[in-house]
């Protein structure tokens, strides 16, 4: 075990250095920036390879990469390791979608997804509104989960400190807000470079340390042999991960995550196609390795050393682990100091900061993207169409502060009261967040490759898709007064156990899109030809 005082002091120093460096990046980015909306949101559309690939990867890997995904491997065993195969699919999307989005964005001056979709199909308030709504439904739960992870991590780093959760959540929020506000996209992307390196290093070092501690690969797999048979096959001990479900997750959750607002803006910000092409390659090769040869192995060892228990038909974590998501943190705090002594304590602190980096890099990118979406697609269109660029810039910054305050309030309320319904809903909603984002896939593919759909078809398809995904969340039952596990949840359960929820939404979306497009007014053929030409 780590001596609590020593570890707390080391963790405080490492954390302090990390946060000061982040703020330094923010100030540097502010000094390099120009006072324009395009510069604040897209860093002047000149981002090079290293910054682009690291910011795309760091935005993609949230706290879930270091906590949630290993937590699920700890719970479900090898069945959930197949999940890593979604990453090369996501990597391919960076090139396939990103290069065309970038070309058109540069030529036509787009900043948000709404700009491009409205320009292609013909601008309309409902169309922009629905695209902005999808962005909002994706972003807010993600920011909330990152803040919550910051709080839990502070508890792990400073277990004896009073109010560690609140202070950790607040520190993450305040530092993130400061560097996003002053430096915009440039600051977010530069900090993502540092955070991305920390994250990748953390995932791989954690696995290496675990394997070495267990006596090399031989000792490691000897431990793995003790895992119960249900955790060595599909659908896993809880029966959740069937091959069909994993296949739809790998195809749709991956591509859906690559058309969310923050990633879309990263395509606009890339300097040229070559940057995105290289980014796609590196993403496809590096991130799956971080999972399959990194943190997933740590979780598998955790499963062998501290097996979860079945209590009243429900799988619960081993008392030593406490919560499924904490398995990597527990393993690191156990193994590294034992193996490396004082150096191990420093390494644990760095690894925990890597988890914090995963949280902050996703929170900052999503807040920054939400600011652009709400300012350009809502404020500028519906509230103050003649607002100056300076006014819009201040509104954008206000959105960042307000969104963070809302997220902090929900996290705090949920921490004080475990039964606080809105946070419980949002936690569940996080799993639906990618499902909502997937509803932009049919429109994206039509716009970039097929060019057959109509504005009414696109709008109706997205609304249908959102509605289907909404049925998988606890909201319908809560609205009907049936608690969080009412009639709608029971009706949707068979479908939920078979497929990824984003996929089911996409099926409804595509059907409605095709049928409505068949009978409604086509997009002007000259515009279709012109946009098609500019994309090639």
């Amino acid at each position: 075990m780590i001596a609590a005082v020593d570890f707390a002091e080391v963790a405080l120093v490492v954390l302090g250095i990390y946060l000061v460096v982040l703020l330094g990046f923010g100030v540097l980015a502010w000094r390099r920036g120009r006072v324009s909306e395009e510069d604040y949101y897209l860093a002047g559309r000149g981002q090079g390879f290293i910054v682009t690939v690291m910011t795309i990867m760091a935005t993609f890997f949230s706290s879930a990469a270091m906590l949630g995904v290993p937590g699920n491997v700890y719970k479900e065993g090898v069945a959930f390791m197949i999940f890593a195969l979604n990453l090369p699919v996501a990597g391919v999307c960076i090139y396939l979608f990103g290069s065309r989005i970038r070309r058109l964005g540069r030529r036509r001056g787009y900043v948000t997804q709404g700009d491009m979709i409205a320009d292609y199909y013909g601008d309309s308030a409902p169309l922009r509104g629905v695209v902005a709504l999808i962005g909002f439904l994706y972003v807010l739960p993600y920011v909330i989960m990152q803040i919550k992870a910051g709080g839990h991590l502070a508890q792990g780093m400073f277990p004896d400190a009073e109010g560690a959760f609140e202070k950790g959540a607040l520190a993450l929020s305040v530092v993130t807000i400061i560097y996003v506000l002053i430096g915009g996209m440039r600051s977010v992307a530069w900090t993502d470079v540092l955070q991305g390196f920390l994250l990748i290093l953390g995932m791989l070092v954690a696995a290496a340390a675990t394997i070495v501690t267990l006596g090399g690969f031989g000792g490691f797999f000897e431990q793995v042999r003790t895992i119960d048979p249900a955790a060595l096959s599909l659908p896993g001990p809880s029966g959740t991960y069937t091959p069909w479900k994993l296949m739809t997750i790998c195809l749709f959750a991956s591509s859906g995550s690559l058309v969310q607002p923050a990633q879309w803006m990263r395509y606009y910000a890339a300097r040229n196609d070559r940057v995105l092409k290289r980014s796609a390659l590196v993403f496809s090769l590096v991130l799956p390795a971080c999972f399959l040869f990194g943190v997933m192995l740590v979780a598998l060892a955790g499963r062998a050393l501290y097996p979860p228990e079945m209590v009243d038909g429900t799988l619960v974590p081993h008392p030593h682990v406490g919560e499924f998501d904490q398995v990597v943190v527990v393993m690191m705090k156990e193994q590294l100091p034992e193996m490396l002594g004082a150096a191990g304590v420093v390494m644990v602190a760095i690894l925990l900061v890597a988890v914090l980096a995963a949280s902050m890099s996703t929170a900052d990118s999503n807040l920054h993207a939400l600011s652009a979406v709400l300012t350009r697609d809502v404020y500028d269109r519906f509230l103050r169409p003649r607002a100056s660029e300076t006014e819009r810039a201040w509104v954008g910054r206000s959105v960042i502060v307000l969104a963070m305050l809302l997220a902090l309030w929900l996290v705090r309320a949920g921490h004080d009261d475990a039964d606080f319904a809105p946070l419980k809903m949002i936690v569940n909603l996080m799993f639906a967040a990618i499902g909502f984002s997937c509803q932009l896939l049919p429109v994206t593919i039509d716009m970039l490759f097929l060019r057959k759909g109509t504005r009414a078809g696109a709008l109706a398809g997205m609304v249908a898709g959102i509605f289907v995904v909404f049925l998988f969340t606890p909201f319908p039952d809560l609205l009907l007064g049936g608690g969080t596990d009412g009639a709608v949840a029971k009706t949707m359960q068979p479908l939920k156990s078979l497929f990824d929820i984003g996929f089911t939404g996409v099926v409804a979306n595509v059907l409605v899109f095709v049928v409505v497009s068949r009978f409604t007014r086509k997009v002007d053929s000259d515009r279709v030809r012109e946009i098609g030409r500019e994309m090639e």
Partner: protein, 70 residues
């Protein structure tokens, strides 16, 4: 195949004590994931080298850079 129906070919039955859960001491399903990751990675590398094009502006930019070298 990798994350889909192909898994039925290798997935050990948890209720069958004779099922092959390990190959060379490594969990079969994990080995399957590693194998398919290799296939996917190979496909991405081939696509990167042979299929993915760059826009004319990139090619022009590269030519200018080349021409500008001393």
């Amino acid at each position: 195949m990798g994350a889909g129906p192909g898994l039925f070919l290798v997935n050990p039955d948890p209720n069958d004590p004779e099922a092959r859960r390990f190959v060379f001491g490594i969990p079969t399903v994990y080995l399957w994931a590693v194998l398919w990751l290799a296939v996917q990675s190979g496909a991405v590398v081939v696509a990167y080298r042979k299929l993915w094009n760059e826009s004319k502006e990139d090619e022009e930019g590269a030519a200018e850079t080349k021409g500008g070298r001393p």
